[in-house]
Symmetry: C2
Subunit: 267 residues, 2 copies
DNA sequence: CGTTCTATTGACTCGATTCAAACTAAGTGG
DNA sequence: CCACTTAGTTTGAATCGAGTCAATAGAACG
């Protein structure tokens, strides 16, 4: 992993939602971090932990999973800081778990407190990050509450795709899906059996392919229409760039990029 | 409405989640506000608004309601600031609507920015407010995702009861319920018909009464057990006080208090 | 090369929705 | 103060989406 990768993934994420001057990016480069590699299902944080560091996700996926009934309440992609709120409220409400192999940069709380006091721009961007997380939760409530299971799954895939693209991944509408259909089911609050049937349905409708731990969105327009996906809530500055992309993603049949499918030094 | 009521409701709420020194409370007394009275179903904020003031709820209930499918994503009780996030991100994702008659104090964004810079304690408390809101959303995702409809309704009533009590209302386990069964259904993502059957079931189980726009929790223990209610996520400093209350709330058959059932100057 | 995890399929069951109708309470205006 | 209107609640019957159970097929892993 190249030097400075930890900070640059976070910088990608922050600039996707807020304009940051050079000064602020310069501040980010000083981010101290310890890199952690995790295998699928590993616990990054347990409900009982009282962390003094934040997790900046660099590769792979993490999720918050409810202790009691295994409901996944949010899924995180590279650049996210799933436990940013622990800066203010040290109590955790769920487990933070790796969905597939993941690389995490642990950054001391103190660093964020420092840059918050040094730069109003970064302070604003970090708060925005928290607010957008909440907006995602609200959107997910609408999904679970008001949409049928086909729509839910389609919507989740839309969201993940766009969030990956916001940090420079999945540019060709392909991305690693190391999570299982059961994981998907836990997120969408449906049974694993039903999740499987939904995915088959999406395949039959020719909007996506899901093979060998890779999802390929073959018809973005149809998928978003099916999902009723309106990405405003993601708060992306340049979301139009993705929405209005050409139908055929790329002519060159590229391999899934290095960044979307993490090399697996742990397997 | 007595002078200073606006600030004191917010003070009640903030002290329910954080310890605040006298200085900070003194700062709150200077809160400038414009009082607004709303009838049931009134829109306090529309999705398209770009407010420059926050809403501090003084009496009644507000909810965020999704534009497209009417899903209620959160319910707010007196002391709450439903649109606190608009301080950072001016874009709204839903409508803010009155569930029953409501009284709101509009407070300029500038005031919160000011007290945030003046007092680290208030800054912390306000951020905590936002984080607890998010924790409620997460909890609600678990509810919609993993629990059956009886449990959902029971859980919502538990949550509202405890949040009211945190700001000094519903002390006797009774509170105004000006919302309709359809509102409840929109929150719990069930049909209105089914909501009605659930409520009848809860009545039959003798855990609550719902008559003449008032809900009476007649068996708190049974209701929380039924709901699997674990109120940690509400972040209340003194939640044990409520959890361990005696089974029989109060001997004196009191009228619902003035504060829980707003007088209705608009009818 | 067997073990284990994941994906797939079919049959049955059940919770919840929908539709429709009746009933009740709460305004509104003559 | 009563007739009329409207909003909300209650009930029953038919239907459907999704869950559960159970068994098999396939992929990944040590």
């Amino acid at each position: 992993m190249q030097k400075g990768f930890a900070f640059s993934k976070l910088a990608d994420r922050l600039t996707s939602i807020a304009e940051l001057p050079e000064n602020d990016l310069e501040l980010l480069t000083r981010m101290p971090s310890t890199i952690g590699h995790f295998a699928s299902r590993d616990h990054i944080l347990r409900k009982t932990d009282q962390p003094s560091r934040c997790c900046v996700l660099l590769q792979g996926y993490l999720c918050w999973k409810d202790d009691n009934d295994g409901q996944i309440t949010s899924i995180h992609v590279p650049g996210d800081i799933p436990d940013l709120h622990a800066l203010i409220a040290p109590r955790l409400e769920a487990h933070l778990i790796a969905l597939g192999p993941a690389v995490v940069a642990f950054v001391p709380h103190g660093f964020f407190q420092e840059i918050t006091s040094l730069s109003s721009g970064l302070s604003h961007a970090l708060r925005l990050l928290g607010i957008i997380d909440a907006a995602c939760l609200r959107n997910w409530i609408v999904n679970l509450g008001s949409r049928d299971s086909l729509t839910r799954v389609a919507h989740l895939i839309c969201e993940i795709t766009m969030r990956l693209q916001a940090v420079g991944l999945a540019r060709d509408d392909r991305f690693a899906s190391p999570f299982t259909q059961s994981d998907l089911a836990s997120a969408c609050a449906i049974s694993a059996v039903h999740a499987n049937r939904i995915i088959q349905d999406l395949r039959r409708k020719e909007v996506l392919k899901w093979h060998s731990r890779t999802i390929t969105v073959s018809n973005w327009q149809a998928l978003t229409r099916l999902a009723g996906f309106e990405p405003d809530y993601l708060g992306l500055r340049n979301s139009a760039e993705f929405q209005c992309r050409p139908l055929q993603p790329s002519i060159i049949p590229s391999e899934p990029s290095e960044l979307s499918i993490p090399r697996q030094p742990y397997s």
